[in-house]
């Protein structure tokens, strides 16, 4: 038996090395796997529910975080993971299915109280909150945490700067490392140790979502060491750092000064949580399959080599195909000819065989064909298809009509960009090239490294114009799971920047800009949510964005993982606040 298994192992490694797609999955003897779960069970329920305390949850990650400092991160998985040691004003409910998108108070005793115009938001902190060293957590610490994370780019430049953008006087404040005045930024008031008041430049009805960012987790000013703070994070959550090794890993143990009475949302079951970074991605998958670890911290799913093994056979019941909260799309730059003409843009919309593109990217495990810019897991998503074609295979006749209207009846030449180190994106570009050739659009593919894609190439309008980059591959996930959290940075004219921009279409439509501004100022939840779908339709009517794929993660639950559920609030990965282990 062993000989056969050894032979099978050598054969599968050989097949992988030769680039062959391994089919099947070796011998399929064994138990149910993944505890009591079935395929996709964690999308709508908590798999292996348990209330047993103890054990160690072990994670591996094939890369490193931008930072584990709650004030210096933009990564979705860090936002999710940091909730174990950093409590924000609000957070997403650790719950299964749609319930996981609900914002609930965390450090705050209730959600924010807005003024009538939604320009002033007030939060009251819970009583009895303490840091790991036993000192009390005050509203001033929350204010300081927001100031250091948004206003000190010379040291902490990784995180988003929404607070800087929306707070009154945010554009003038120099940050806590330069401005040593006692008050700091005046538009955040702390009238007492339990109250914090935010005064905004403009109405902002999504503020409770903004307050879920780990940037609102308190930092005691006396313990802040800037970029070095990551090495000595002061915990406000149920776990604290026992060790931290830059770029290599960390171990978290219980924070004895965390009081469960102040925290109705965390069960804090495991005694210990260990994390290892820079593990070979195939090793991460193998460790999950052999139950050596509890979870893959990246939360983006198994590697292409592992997919055949888990799509069928005994491991299939341990998989969850979750929406990643992101859409893969092609931005058509409205300032590069011929896409300055809406009919040429529409020709691409009608002509593209999206199904063939999805197939080239890896088929259904990679996602579903997209017809909207907003992905289905985002609040405000409305299902529609402005350019509906049979089987998403494109409509050559309609595309040619649009080409005629555009003044290019025989098609045209253009350039499509892709990130060279993202195989799926390169495959997408090649499939788009093949598909559009049928209607006479001849595409030259230009590849750029992802590390410089926005800073030097696709996100630099002057470079894009000079090199006539008409079509730009793009993938975007929401900063928070509402229409505004998704759309603002990719279709708002204000997101066009000299470099590092993410509005790759350079869409600056006054009607869309106004609709975004009006909607985010609307405190009527239902009306606001409906508006996001309407804006999505406006973008598709403008035809400057070609949605291609709603990305999915093929997640794998290890056998020993308990309390496993997918959270749509954090890009479709597992909820790390809930997860525990039977080991």
């Amino acid at each position: 038996m062993k000989t056969r298994r050894v032979t099978a192992a050598i054969a599968s490694v050989l097949a992988l090395s030769l680039g062959a797609a391994a089919c099947g999955g070796g011998d399929d003897n064994g138990g149910n796997g993944g505890g009591s779960g079935k395929k996709d069970a964690a999308l709508t329920s908590i798999v292996n529910p348990s209330s047993k305390k103890g054990g160690t949850v072990t994670y591996e990650h094939s890369d490193v975080p931008d930072s584990l400092d709650p004030g210096n991160t933009y990564y979705g998985w860090v936002q999710n993971f940091s909730r174990l040691y950093a409590r924000a004003l609000t957070t997403f409910k650790p719950a299964a299915g749609k319930e996981g998108l609900e914002v609930v108070p965390d450090l705050a005793e209730s959600l924010g109280t807005p003024s009538d115009d939604a320009k002033t938001w007030t939060y009251k902190l819970r009583k009895g909150l303490k840091y790991q060293d036993g000192t009390p957590i005050t509203s001033k610490d929350v204010k300081y945490a927001i100031l250091r994370s948004n206003f000190a780019p010379e040291a902490l430049s990784n995180g988003p700067t929404y607070f800087k953008a929306y707070l009154e006087g945010g554009d003038k404040y120099k940050g806590p490392y330069k401005d040593k005045s006692a008050d700091g930024l005046k538009s955040i008031e702390t009238p007492d140790d339990n109250t914090i008041v935010f005064k905004l430049k403009q109405p902002f009805a999504d503020f409770d979502y903004l307050a879920t960012f780990s940037q609102t987790a308190p930092v005691p000013q006396s313990k802040d060491t800037g970029a070095k703070y990551v090495q000595n994070i002061v915990s406000s959550g149920p776990y604290q750092f026992q060790s931290y090794e830059e770029g290599r890993g960390a171990t978290l143990v219980r924070n004895k000064n965390w009081d469960p009475k102040t925290d109705p949302i965390r069960k804090a079951l495991p005694d210990k949580i260990s994390v290892k970074f820079k593990v070979n991605p195939v090793t991460v998958d193998n460790d999950l399959l052999s139950d050596k670890i509890t979870g893959d911290l990246a939360g983006t799913g198994v590697q292409p080599q592992t997919q055949p093994k888990v799509l069928q056979g005994k491991y299939a019941s341990q998989t969850d195909s979750s929406y990643a909260g992101a859409t893969q799309y092609i931005a058509l730059n409205v300032n590069v000819a011929p896409f300055d003409n809406i009919h040429c843009r529409k020709a691409v919309q009608w002509g593209l065989d999206k199904q063939s593109v999805l197939d080239a990217m890896g088929g259904s495990p990679k996602g579903d064909v997209a017809t909207t810019l907003l992905p289905p897991s985002v609040n405000g998503y409305t299902k529609f298809d402005t350019y509906a074609t049979e089987g998403h295979k494109g409509n050559v006749a309609k595309a040619k009509e649009e080409l005629k209207a555009c003044g290019k009846p025989n098609g045209f030449n253009t350039i499509l960009t892709a990130r060279s180190d993202r195989p799926a994106e390169v495959a997408q570009a090649t499939a788009v090239q093949a598909s559009l050739k049928k209607i006479g659009i001849n595409i030259e593919i230009k590849q750029f490294p992802s590390g410089k894609y926005f800073s030097n190439f696709a996100g630099v309008p002057s470079y894009v114009h000079e090199h006539k980059l008409g079509m730009l591959s793009m993938a975007w996930g929401a900063d928070w799971p509402t229409g505004f959290g998704f759309l603002d940075q990719v279709v708002n004219g204000s997101a066009i920047k000299p470099s590092g921009g993410t509005n790759l279409s350079e869409l600056n439509d006054p009607a869309i800009n106004k609709a975004l501004k009006d909607a985010i100022g609307n405190t009527d939840d239902a009306a606001r949510t409906k508006a996001w779908g309407d804006i999505d339709k406006m973008v598709l009517d403008n035809a400057s964005v070609v949605p291609v794929v709603y990305r999915k993660n093929l997640l794998l639950r290890s056998e020993s993982a308990a309390n496993v559920t997918v959270t749509q609030a954090y890009l479709g990965m597992y909820d790390y606040v809930l997860m525990s282990s039977t080991k």
Binding site: V6, I10, P153, E154, S157, G226, A227, E245, G247, K292
Partner: protein
């Protein structure tokens, strides 16, 4: 001898300076010559939310607004006398040798390197012991049994070893002995000072994968060297004097054949400390090679500089050692 060593050390320092200048030029100067502005360079280190203020702040704090020559001078000065940086409320002192701060994570480069050097060094040492012993032994046996089955089989294995890349042999060994027939629970680096037995046990698979490649090469080199020296006149003389065959082979034949092996070993070992990228990646070992790849991917220039200098240092240092041991091996070599 002392004068020779001092001369070589000066030469080594000079060489490292040249390496640092070339590396600096490749990563700092060439992008500028290619039209990249300081702003574009700084944008890479700002994170996802780049805006003019954050770009300007990062540019200034990382010194990217300075002329290239000034940046290089500051770097070299930091290596010798240390430097001061401000990535927080207060300035922090980076003591010499200060390799600067990571542009991405703002951590000091030198402590990161010192934590990773033992991993790469351990990997290279263990593998080297295996490949030298096995390679030289196989080479000697093959040479003495030239044309016989043992020679043919050895050389076939050697050919396979040279031909098979680490990411193949490493993955096969990993798949077999960690997952299918789990003799090892995991492959990881345990510091030698913590537990020497665990250190060796947990590195054995990476050692074997790496040594398989090199021992094949060394077996072929030893065989060729032995075949040549065993045909020399002094070997015939030694035999004619009635010396035992083992003495002839080890003291006269192998000793002469070892000189080129030692030379190439110095080069290989020195190079390997900084460049065992594939082995470190396959076995998830956090050594200098894997760190180099990460830093290049991130365009984290101070770390690229750091790993390049460390890798270059090991190559230069090992070559110096090789030159010094020449005299012990080959009496014809004298230092003058």
């Amino acid at each position: 001898m002392a004068a020779y060593i001092i001369r070589r050390v000066f030469g080594a320092v000079l060489l490292l300076l040249v390496v640092s200048a070339v590396t600096f030029a490749i990563f700092f100067l060439v992008p500028r010559l290619g039209g990249q502005t300081a702003d574009q360079l700084a944008t890479q280190y700002v994170g996802k939310d780049a805006n003019p203020e954050s770009i300007a702040a990062v540019k200034q704090n990382l010194g990217l607004d300075q002329p290239i020559a000034v940046q290089y001078w500051d770097y070299i000065k930091g290596l010798v006398v240390g430097a001061e940086y401000k990535f927080g409320p207060d300035a922090t002192r980076c003591e010499a040798p200060c390799f600067g701060y990571s542009f991405k994570s703002h951590v000091e480069v030198w402590p990161q390197l010192t934590e990773r050097i033992p991993v790469s060094f351990s990997l290279a040492v263990g593998a080297a012991v295996i490949w030298v012993i096995s390679g030289v032994t196989i080479g000697v046996i093959s040479a003495l049994r030239k044309g016989r089955p043992v020679d043919r089989i050895s050389m076939f294995i050697a050919l396979a070893g040279v031909s098979l890349p680490i990411f193949f042999t490493g993955q096969v060994l990993n798949a077999l002995f960690v997952y299918e027939v789990p003799i090892w629970d995991s492959i990881e680096y345990v510091p030698f000072t913590e537990n020497p037995a665990d250190w060796a046990w947990h590195l054995l698979l990476p050692w074997i994968s790496l040594a398989f490649l090199f021992s094949a090469l060394y077996a072929r080199l030893t065989r060729a060297g032995m075949l040549e020296t065993m045909g020399e006149d002094y070997i015939r003389t030694a035999r004619a004097k009635g010396l035992k065959e083992t003495t002839v082979v080890t003291k006269h034949g192998l000793r002469a054949a070892l000189t080129p092996i030692v030379t190439i070993f110095g080069m290989d070992f020195g190079t390997l400390v900084g460049t065992a990228v594939l082995t470190e990646t396959v076995f998830s070992l956090q050594g200098i090679g894997a760190y180099a790849v990460q830093s290049i991917k991130d365009n984290d220039l101070p770390i690229v500089m750091g790993v390049t200098l460390v890798a270059a240092f090991f190559i230069v240092f090992c070559n110096l050692i090789v030159d010094l041991v020449y005299a012990a091996i080959d009496p014809r070599v004298r230092y003058s």
